[in-house]
Amino acid sequence: MNANDKRIRWVKEPALGMAGKSYLLLFVQGLATTLKHLVSRKKTVQSPEERHEIPDPIIYRGVHRLNRDEQGRVKCVACFLCATACPAHCIDIVAAESPWPDREKYPQSFTIDELRCIYCGLCEEACPVDAIELTSLYDLSGKSREEMIFDKQKLLSIYDQTKDAEPTRTERLKGEGGGGKAE
């Protein structure tokens, strides 16, 4: 967009009054806010003794999972859209012809570098078949960097682990009577 574009509306900065310009009032205001928070109730959750309560696991952006289709095979069709959307370039896919007669293409290997991931959820947005989803598991840890590069097996196992608590988007849409995105 050009700076001259007609659609841009240039807004003037609101002018400060005398009180604002003298800085004094703002100074006191700022300090008051700070002091108020200094003594207010703290929100920290003392992990690991206490567990963080996730208000809505469906929209939470934690570790990824790779969903399975009805026959238990990986749902991903290796379209690379997630890898394209990923701003951290942490998804690596090797595509191949699928071994199943009813499907064309599938990911021979699918790895996500969970250390590089910024948990933006763009991969989930991009996926045309709702194969990749972010779960509500947030406290992942490992002893080495390699361990934190999740492969297809691991990502599928996260699905197995979370599928009851967090239904996939396709299932949820089915429940609502809407047509899910089809493969």
Binding site: F80, L81, E104, K105, P128
Partner: protein, 577 residues
């Protein structure tokens, strides 16, 4: 210069050539969407995507009369006074309808379709399609059929029939046909007559959607990850202009680049699928120094071959009677210069795979050290006969890109071309003490007995892509960059010089011959191929047309050939003699 009116603006189009409305509009910067028309094929006007309003302006009265019905732009020649309207409501509605009709039977399997990202159907749908689907259709997966050299995804096809026309008109083999009628129409081949000819890969480029797919590219990469670079195919002496499509220094496919003087829109399968040697793990990837011990018998050392190529470990390791040492590029130019200077009688073999610049630098350097150095042209690989296709496309039997270029560099330095055989004889007689072999061949080019001839040579420097019987005997074995990894120029069989930039970086440890020779000849800074070509153009009459830079389609050097008549010999005749 006829004047036409497009969307209420007047344009002059070049006279003398027959342009249809799509081409004329393109010159004016207006794109008319089209599927079935292709500049290299006959016009059928079957897809109806290019429908526009057409009329004519009366030269005398200035009145404009429009035709009542929409007209396919592909089948309408633009002449003086032609009026084209591409932006009316009527045209837009028609385009949307064509798109809707095509998508009624199209599997929306873009996520797994290799064409997604460069698909005309996708692009036109975004630009001209309806924003909502009116029919309740579910996406499905296309049927796939193996029709020979390429794969056919039957349901993705929009029946533009480009591939059928190509097989009929360009390759002249007519394998493909449209089978069935009405909505049952499909592309197919007759049983037991699969699509199989040396140009069949082009139907994949022609297909505007993902119906035809390269077998070697299938599911390898998404096209939007690929970066394309200008290149020249080195498969044969035709020297087709190509696009090198690469991601992270790995070539994924080669595509023809339009060049009216060389290959038009096409390239042969041999060239198209002929790049894997670039990524072969057999390539030589370190400069190596061999110490030849007494009683050396290379044939017993065959298993050491692995040590020359990439999978050898670093460090000194004596292997039998032969010790080899992996060298560092830093000091190598100085060392090579020294050993060359200390060995009195020099000779060089220049393969026809060298770029013009590399050949020039090498000759210049060796002649600078020994002004009588014997420079010879390496063997020219010739396989079978030239293969001609109906519309003139030819796959040459001479399987190297730059015989003419190297020949002319050699003629400049030596006066006449020394045949390879003569060179071997001189080597045998011991007239040459130091030999530089600038290889770069894609496959075996020298056999064991010939290589044995070189055993008497004191200093043997071999530059090559792959280990060969000769490389085992080399005192210095230097890796070279493959054709996609260098800046350089090639001269094809018809004396057309084309220059291309580097497309990918060579593997770690490999340095291009040009940059090594540049440094060895004492030039400062980074290797600048263009500067070398300029220098050669000023010095060698044959190349003089390239002095002012080389345009994208290359430069014809023939005119200079005529000017310098009599000086240039054609080595192919000598060798045959």
């Amino acid at each position: 210069m006829p004047t036409i009116i497009i969307d209420n603006r007047e344009f002059e189009i070049p006279g003398g050539v027959k342009l249809n409305c799509i081409q004329a509009a393109k010159l004016a910067g207006v794109e008319i969407p089209h599927y079935c028309w292709h500049p290299g094929l006959s016009v059928v006007g079957s897809c109806r995507m290019c429908l526009v309003e057409v009329g004519s302006k009366d030269a005398k009265t200035g009145k404009i009369a429009m035709q009542p019905k929409l007209v396919p732009a592909c089948n309408q020649t633009a002449v003086e006074g032609t009026v084209i309207v591409t932006n009316s409501e009527k045209v837009a509605r028609t385009r949307a309808m064509v798109e809707e009709d095509l998508l009624l039977r199209h599997p929306i399997d873009c996520p797994i379709c290799d064409k997604a990202g460069e698909c005309s159907l996708q692009d036109y749908h975004f630009a001209h399609g309806q924003d909502q689907r009116r029919a309740d259709l579910q996406p499905f997966t296309s049927r796939r059929r193996d029709i020979g050299d390429v794969s056919l995804f039957v349901d993705r096809c929009i029946l533009c029939s480009r591939c059928v026309r190509f097989a009929k008109e360009i390759s002249g083999t007519s394998e493909l046909m449209v089978a069935g009628r009405g909505t049952h129409e499909e592309i197919d081949v007759v049983e037991n007559h699969p699509l199989h000819n040396n140009l069949s890969g082009n139907v994949v480029d022609l297909c505007p959607v993902g119906a035809l797919a390269d077998k070697d590219f299938l599911y390898r990469q998404r096209v939007w990850f690929l970066r394309r670079h200008k290149g020249i195919c080195t498969g044969c002496a035709t020297g087709c202009s190509i696009w090198i499509e690469e991601n992270q220094d790995r070539i994924h496919r080669l595509k023809p680049r339009e060049n009216p003087h060389v290959n038009q829109w096409w390239m042969c399968n041999e060239g198209r699928y002929g790049y894997p040697h670039v990524h072969s793990d057999k390539r030589i990837v370190h400069p190596i120094r061999h110490q030849r011990a007494e009683g050396f018998n290379p044939s017993a050392e065959c298993e050491t071959n692995a040590a020359f190529s990439g999978n050898s470990s670093r460090g000194d390791k004596p292997l039998g009677s032969l010790s080899h040492e992996i060298l560092d590029w830093t000091d190598l130019p100085t060392e090579l210069n020294q050993v060359l200077r200390s060995s009195k009688h020099l000779g060089a073999i220049l393969s026809p795979f060298l770029a013009v610049e590399e050949a020039y630098l090498l000759c210049k350097m060796l002649r600078g050290i020994d002004k009588n150095a014997m420079l010879a042209l390496g063997p020219i690989p010739v396989v079978g006969e030239d293969e001609h296709f109906p519309k003139g496309f030819t796959v040459r039997a001479e399987k190297c890109p730059n015989r003419r270029g190297v020949e002319n560099v050699l003629t400049h330095f030596t006066g006449k071309i020394v045949p390879y055989g003569n060179f071997l004889k001189s080597v045998e007689k011991g007239e040459i003490r130091g030999v530089w072999v600038a290889g770069g061949y894609k496959n075996d080019w020298i056999d064991e007995p010939t290589a044995k001839t070189f055993e008497s040579v004191e200093l043997l420097i071999v530059q090559d892509l792959f280990p060969s019987p000769l490389s085992e005997r080399a005192s210095f074995l230097l890796p070279v960059a493959a054709f996609v990894e260098i800046d350089g120029s090639y001269v094809n069989h018809a004396d057309r010089l084309q220059t291309v930039p580097q497309a990918i970086r060579p593997p770690l440890g490999v340095r291009s011959a040009g940059s090594l020779l540049w440094e060895m000849s004492g030039r400062k800074g980074l290797y600048d191929a263009q500067a070398v070509l300029r220098e050669a153009a000023h010095e060698i009459l044959y190349f003089s047309a390239a002095a002012g830079g080389v345009p994208e389609a290359g430069i014809d050097l023939k005119s200079n050939l005529l000017a310098g008549m009599g000086k240039i010999e054609d080595s192919s005749k000598i060798q045959q003699a």
